[in-house]
């Protein structure tokens, strides 16, 4: 059931879709992000790119899109998209990762499949890059494949992280990423969180921060994120942009990740 809210449509940067009521979280209508094509997720180190990418992939898959996601994190060997590969595969989301024997190596291996998936994109092709400017060097290597394609390059920001707690800090990393990747950032994703200790107030503070950054940078705020466990306490009307529900997948071994499969009808 897809309803376009005309009045909001001028404020946000896509359509709002209401999910079937049975999928509502805590009585709150979950708004959806209207993104398709090639989406490249960038941001400073530890801003939450991978968790956002995984949940965005799941969100769009549930909306009926064919989704492929590539783990381009060649920088950091821990907490990468590849860790959620099996769970995403169960939902029918293909995860492109380096060959099995190099999975746990801290080697910058770029699968040749990635340029193929850019040349022949799915309805949604998600590229989850590594952190900071060094994390997006890989994109320059994919320049030929990306050339002439319509792409979204979205910068994830979490004001509760070091170096991006100010608009200036976020803009600095924006320019560094743009210089290294030779791509222009086209939108912002507000990912304010303190993981388990995030409060409703933090979400609203982070939203205001993201709006401020949007205004200062001239970049649209594509969506903000809210953890599933906080959703019941959130007033969805507070936001003029869509909200991406985060069902946390990258958890330490003593915690359980959210079951993604249980939400599929």
């Amino acid at each position: 059931m897809k309803i376009v809210f005309g009045i909001f449509n001028r404020l946000i940067f896509g359509t709002i879709t209401l999910i079937e009521p049975k999928l509502n979280q805590g009585g709150v209508s979950r708004v959806e992000i209207d993104l398709d094509g090639i989406v490249i997720i960038v941001g400073n180190y530890g801003s939450g790119k991978t968790e956002v990418s995984i949940n965005l992939a799941v969100n769009r898959k549930r909306a009926g899109l064919e989704v492929r996601i590539a783990d381009l994190d060649l920088v950091n060997p821990y907490f990468r998209t590849r860790e959620a590969k099996a769970r995403l595969a169960e939902l029918g989301i293909e995860v492109v990762v380096p060959p099995q024997q190099y999975m746990q190596a801290d080697l910058p291996i770029l699968s040749p499949v990635v340029s193929g998936m850019i040349r022949q994109p799915s309805q949604l092709t998600l590229l989850d890059t590594g952190g900071d400017d060094v994390g997006v060097n890989v994109l320059a290597a994919l320049g030929a494949a990306l050339s002439g394609k319509k792409i979204h390059v979205l910068q994830v920001v979490n004001p509760f992280r070091p170096f991006t707690d100010t608009t200036g800090g976020c803009l600095k990393i924006r320019y560094e990423i743009e210089r290294a990747s030779r791509l222009s950032i086209s939108g912002i994703i507000g990912n304010a969180n303190l993981i388990d200790e995030t409060t409703v107030k933090d979400i609203y503070t982070g939203y205001d921060f993201a709006l401020g950054l949007s205004k200062e940078s001239g970049l649209p705020l594509k969506f903000v994120t809210v953890a599933a466990e906080l959703m019941p306490e959130i007033d969805i009307k507070h936001f003029t942009c869509p909200v991406l529900l985060i069902e946390r997948q990258l958890v330490p071994p003593w915690k359980r990740s959210f079951s993604l499969a249980s939400k599929m009808e």
Partner: protein, 355 residues
């Protein structure tokens, strides 16, 4: 300042700055390179020094030299890098200079792997380098605790004029948790005139400070080692730190576990409690000195039938646990050492198999 979200490695770097340490020398290695990356950015901001050495051996002697001059110094590395630094660590301990080392452990031996491990227990608690020295070894189980331990490590290193080792595993370095930083410490060791070669005029004294670990005379070297031993004995009296978990229950089994592994064990203990099986835990926060008495007392509970050492090594802590339990109960081991952290379910299965 409120809480911020930090990786363990970043938080360790920031904690060192807050502890007044403005000298950081390092050589990058996974899974702790973020400390170097973070401090290469932060040290210039606070007027400190970040210097990448040409090797870990070089780094350990940079620490030695700077510490000998009375500066507060630290480095971070991971298992193979600590092996290389071990020569310098022995010299620093022998010359009684304070320094803080952080080991974010990865799998071994040799190059091993880059995933979490606790296989450097022997290396850090039983020597590592040559000679009759000990390190004061602390093992954090969370990013917040890593911050607190780093900030404690510097005053302790200076109190004992001995290297202090912070032993974390790859997960402690890589995971993100919200943290809060305590107030800044003063940036200079208050007792540095005891050893620093900073000039007699500066100290206003006519006592010459000589930093050395060479004692050719047998009697003098023996005397020196007895004095070092007295320091290590004092650590055993004054520095033992540990946490007790579910110890008020009538537990059937007692787990001894530290660092990341203890976080998994806590989840297992909670889950077993829900099933009606009580299990207690002693979590050593200092690995040397080891909380022998606390473990002995916990193992003395009448309901307790077995003590299980759970670690991401092939049972390196078992000997210390056995020594603590003094034959009162059987001591078993469960663990993995390839990089996979045992799951709460695997820990439960292991504990049940020993009952």
């Amino acid at each position: 300042m409120g809480k911020i979200l930090m990786k363990g490695n970043e938080a360790i770097g920031e904690a060192a700055i807050r502890a007044g340490c403005l000298n950081y020398f390092a050589y990058p290695i996974t899974p702790q390179s973020e400390v170097a990356e973070y401090l290469s950015r932060r040290m210039p901001e606070v007027g400190g020094v970040f210097l990448q050495g040409e090797s870990e051996v070089a780094v350990s002697y940079m620490l030695f030299g700077a510490s000998a001059c009375g500066a507060r110094v630290f480095t971070t590395s991971s298992s193979p890098g600590i092996s290389l630094m071990s020569e310098g660590i022995s010299y620093i301990a022998g010359a009684q200079c304070p320094a803080v080392f952080v080991n974010i452990m990865r799998g071994g031996p040799g190059l091993g792997g880059i995933l979490p491990s606790q296989a450097d227990y022997f290396q850090s608690t039983k020597g590592g380098g040559h000679g009759d020295y000990r390190l004061l070894v602390m093992a954090p189980a969370s990013v917040q605790e890593a911050v607190e331990m780093v900030m404690l490590a510097f005053p302790l290193a200076e109190k004992y004029r001995n290297p202090v080792m912070l032993l974390g595993d790859g997960l402690i370095g890589q995971m993100m948790e919200p943290v809060e930083f305590p107030d800044h410490l003063k940036s200079e060791p208050t007792n540095k005139d005891e050893w620093a070669t900073n000039g007699m005029d500066t100290r206003g004294s006519n006592k010459r400070n000589l930093v050395k670990s060479l004692f050719l005379d047998a009697g003098k070297l023996n005397e020196h080692n007895l004095m070092l031993k007295a320091k290590y004995d004092r650590m055993k009296q004054e520095e033992i730190r540990y946490e007790l978990y579910n110890i008020e229950s009538d537990y059937k089994a007692l787990i001894v576990s530290y660092g990341t592994m203890s976080r998994v064990c806590k989840t297992s203990i909670d889950n077993m409690k829900d099933e009606g099986l009580e299990v207690g835990m002693v979590r050593p926060q200092t690995l040397f000195p080891f909380p022998e008495k606390a473990i002995y007392e916990a193992a003395s509970k009448e309901s307790c039938k077995v003590v299980v050492s759970i670690e991401m090594s092939m049972g390196q802590m078992v000997e210390d646990v056995e020594r603590s339990v003094k034959g009162k109960l059987p001591v078993r081991w469960y663990g993995k050492c390839g990089g996979d952290v045992p799951t709460p379910e695997e820990v439960i299965e292991a504990v049940k198999s020993f009952l």
